[in-house]
Structure formats: C-alpha cells, structure tokens
Amino acid sequence: MSTQTKAIISWIVTFIVMLIITMPGLWVILSGFRPLQEILAKPAIWIPQRLTLDNFYAIFGIGETQIAIPVLAYFRNSIIIATTSTAIAIIVGISGGYAFARYRFKFKDTLFLGLMLSRTVPGIALSLPVFIVWARLGWIDTQFGLILVYVALNVPFTIWLIDGFFRQIPKELAEAAEVDGCTRWQAFWKIEFPLAKSGIASAGIFAFLTSWNEFALASNLTRSTNSKTLPVGLTDFIAQFTTDWAGMCAMAFIIIVPALILTFLVQKHLIAGLTFGGVKG
C-alpha cells in the first residue's frame, strides 16, 4: 500500500469514528428544534424540513401548547445548586489540595486514600442512608440538602486536581517570597494562587458538571419544584404510556448547552490536570 492510500484510509476511518461520536448527541439536539410530527414520521425524514422553537415555548409555558412541567423552576434549582456546591467545593479543595501538595504530615497517604475511596461509593448506594438521615433532619427536598451532598461528592476530585496543579509550581517561588518578607499566606495568595488559577478554574468546571449532571442521588433526595434539578425533571416527560419525545429533546438541549460551553472553555487544562495529577502523583 502506498503512503497515500494509507493516509486516505486513516482519514476515512477517522471520519466514521467522529461521526459515531457526534451523531447520536447531535440528533437529539437537532430533534429539539423539529416539530413532533417530523420526529415521529415514518419513513424517517432525514433532512429537517422545518425548524421551530415551538418545543421550547411549550416546555417554558409560552404560547398555545403548554406542558405542565415546571422546567423554569428546575433550571433555577440546577443553577443554584450547581454553582453553590461548586464554589464551596473549590474553597475546600484549594485548602485541601494545598495541604497535600506542600506539606508532609502523618497519615498523609491514608487521608488521601480515604478521600479518594469516599468517591468510589456508588451514588445509589450512598443515597439510601443519606435519604434516611436527611428525612429525619428535614433536609429532603431542600436545595441545602442537595448542595451538601454535592460538595462532598466533588471534594475528593477537586483536591486531586488542585493538588496536581500546585505541585507543578516550583516550591522555590513561594520560599523566595517568604525570604523577602512575605508571610506564608501572602506567598500563597500573591504567588502560588495566581499561577494555579486556570487549573483551579478547570477543577471548578469539573465539579460544576458533576453537580449539573448528577441523577442517582438527586432523583431520590428531591420531590418537588423546591429542589428538583433538570436531570430529574427530564424523567417527568416519561408518562406511563406516552413519552413526549419533542419536549424531552428540547430539554436535553437546555441541559447540554451550559455543559458544552464550559467544557470547551477548559478542555486544555482538564487534560493537563488529569494527566499530571495521575502520573506524577
């Protein structure tokens, strides 16, 4: 085989692989903009004839066709819960990550392992006792209850990532600042933190996505518009005998867009963080 045929073959294979990776998601997103008759048409209409925002009007309760699903409230809950839990997880993560990156102390490895192991507990297994305890404390169906869970869910991973980012910054920088008369806190705040900032931001986005996308715990700890998040709300569209495919596709679009934007913003740091945190650990 000549090098040229080889190159052409690898291009074709790559193209097919990329198609498989993107098509299922794009199909759902696109369907959100198509009228229901067209989505369900047989034989399938492959090239959209008409694009419309009707599905979005319907799920947000604007216009004639209304759906009795409070998507706006779910959206608000999702935003509040994901941002608050991310902010707290980041602060806790910086504090913990810095400790692991810069200090030697007793039980360091044990603590690290313990934190990581806490992350391995399957959401559904954790949801059982949390459900019972939260019910006794009156935290079921509250935003606070879910925020608390998500902070704990995110802390191990944020610590792991942030630890990796601090490790990449030479210790000598902060030490030099301390020699020049900075306190340890000033050295951290003025030298190390700005250098790790973009890494910390990507850890934050990772945490945000985890909270934004989580389902197993949310579906059992929420009940109503008080605290139901978008992923839980998505299942509202599945009634016993019918499924509102058009509405679901529109809602899928709403869930995916923030995630899409955020991931594109930090993809480079994310890859660097995962690789360094793991290999150099």
Partner: protein, 307 residues
C-alpha cells in the same frame, strides 16, 4: 488564658497547618459519606422498612445478608454487573487506544479531533440514557427507521425489549459515553512520548508491531490505568443509563446491582435489605478502584521515574 494561647499556638504551628487545611474536607466527607455509611451498615442488620419506622430498631443479625446471598436474582444481577463492567471497560480501552493511535497519525486537525472527542463527556449519564432510548426505540427510533428504510430488515427490531439486545444497547450507550476518557488520556500519553527509544528500536530492526508492543504500549500503560482509575470511580453511573433505557426490564433481564438496590430500597421500601446489597456494591466499587490504582502505581514504578 494560658490554655487558650497554648491551643492557639498549637493550631497555628507549622505541624498543625496541614490538618487545619484539611479539616473542612474531612468534615464534609464525615457528614455526607462516612456517617451515613456507618448508619447504613447498622441498617443492613435491621429489618428496616420505610413504611414502618419502628423497624429501624429491630435487629435481625445477618438475616439480610443470608437472604441476599441465597437469592438467585441477586447473584444474577451481581454477575451481570461484573461481566458488564469487564466487557465495557476492556472495549473502551481497546477502542480508546485505537482512536488515540489513529489521531496521533493524522498530521493536521488533531486539536479539532480532540475537542470533538470530548463531546460525549459533557453528556449527563441521564441524557445518554435518554438519547439511546430515543435512538433504539423500536417504534420511533432512527436506528430501526434507518434499517427499515434501507431495506435491511423487514420488521422493527425490539432493541430495548429483548433481553440480550437491550443489554447490548446499554453497553453501546456506556461505551459511547466513556471511551473518550481513554482516548484522550492515551493521546496525551502518545504526545508525551520521547522519540529516541522509537528511533533506537527502528535502528535495531524492530518491526512496527514489536515497537508498539515493547515500547509504545508499556509507556502508555500508566495513562491507561489513570483512565481506568477515573473510570472506576464512576462505574455506578451506569445506573442512570440503565434506569432511563430499560429500568432494569424486560422482566429483570437488564437488572444491574444498582437498579436492584433502588428497586429494593425505594420501590419495595425494604431498606434493611437494600443497604445490605448496597454494601456489596460498595465493596465491588472499592475493589475495582483499588485494583486499577495498584496497577497504576506498579506501572509508574516500572517506568522508573521516566515521567
């Protein structure tokens, strides 16, 4: 007074700093994970039913465990889960390796490809489940529509109704969702790879396969194990996918350990029993993570600080 200053000095001393810094993290984990897990261990020894709160204090010893270990349905779900994970993770590794090698060969557009590869990672597992429920739907799904439209099949294939087909569809969804993690990390490994050993191998007369087998692959293994460790942290996300696609049906033929736990705990309100099963699933998850993590440590050692 002196006691207070003493405590203060201790708290701000150099030795105490890391512990103080870690305190918030530890407290969070205690409240949300450790304490509930201890409670759940206790619950697994009671006959607790959600509908009858007083049963929380009715200790039954090992009865829940004896019962689940003697239950055929539990073992079926257990081995189905283990088998599912083994198949899915191995396929993800192989496919991820293939994609990484493919993209590494391509001379331009690498960055775009890498970005495209991240696409499935943004999808919430619940969305992945819904998406493939839509695509594999026997009536309105595009897959059947396409197959029938092209004249490949006459009748609609009941993708999510037949047990084996449904399991395959779920595995496909799971692989679609997670192969990127492997591909991206293995690609990062390929980028980080020094060129000298490859050239040396060529000079020594190794063929392409030998070079790959003895130089590229050992170098990539730590990256593969990072991906597997990350992956093993959230294997239970498959719950979301299965729950939306089939709900464990038809007739329990796609029931995994996690959907069985949810059904026992919430639908049948049998919390004691569900917690006993949950413990089995927790140990399974920890075993998976521990296995891959120790492989990672060993692979790192094998590379001898080359990284």
């Amino acid at each position: 007074m002196s006691v207070m200053t003493n405590i203060k000095r201790k708290l701000f001393s150099e030795q105490a700093t890391p512990y103080v810094l870690l305190l918030p993290a530890v407290i969070m984990i205690l409240i949300v994970v450790l304490f509930p897990l201890i409670f759940s261990l206790y619950t697994s020894f009671t006959g607790y039913k959600l509908t009858r709160p007083d049963t929380l204090f009715k200790l039954v010893g090992f009865r829940n465990y004896v019962r689940i270990f003697g239950d055929w349905d539990f073992w079926v779900a257990f081995f189905r889960t283990v088998g599912f994970l083994a198949v899915v993770i191995n396929l993800e590794f192989l496919l991820g390796l293939g994609i990484a090698l493919l993209i590494n060969k391509i001379t331009w557009g690498q960055r775009t490809m890498r970005t495209i590869m991240m696409f499935p990672m943004m999808f919430s597992p619940i969305l992945v489940g819904f998406q493939f429920k839509f695509i594999f739907n026997d009536n309105v799904g595009i897959l059947n529509n396409a197959l029938q439209g092209l004249g490949i099949t006459e009748a609609a294939i009941p993708w999510l109704v037949d047990g084996w087909l449904a399991m395959g569809a779920i595995a496909f969804a799971e692989i679609w969702m997670s192969t990127s993690i492997f591909a991206i990390l293995l690609l990062a490994g390929l980028f980080a790879m020094p060129k000298d050993p490859l050239e040396a191998a060529q000079v020594d007369g190794c063929n392409a396969w030998q070079t790959f087998r003895h130089i590229t692959l050992p170098f990539l293994m730590p990256f593969a194990y990072i991906a597997m460790t990350i992956r093993s942290l959230d294997v239970a996300r498959a719950y979301d996918v299965v729950d939306t696609m089939t709900g464990g049906g038809p007739a329990g033929r796609t029931e995994l350990l996690w959907t069985l736990i949810a059904r026992t705990g919430y639908d049948s309100a049998n919390m004691g029993m569900a917690n006993a099963m949950a413990y089995v699933s927790i140990i399974l998850s920890i075993a998976f993570t521990y296995y891959f993590f120790s492989k990672l440590v060993a692979a790192r050692r094998y590379m001898g600080g080359a990284l």
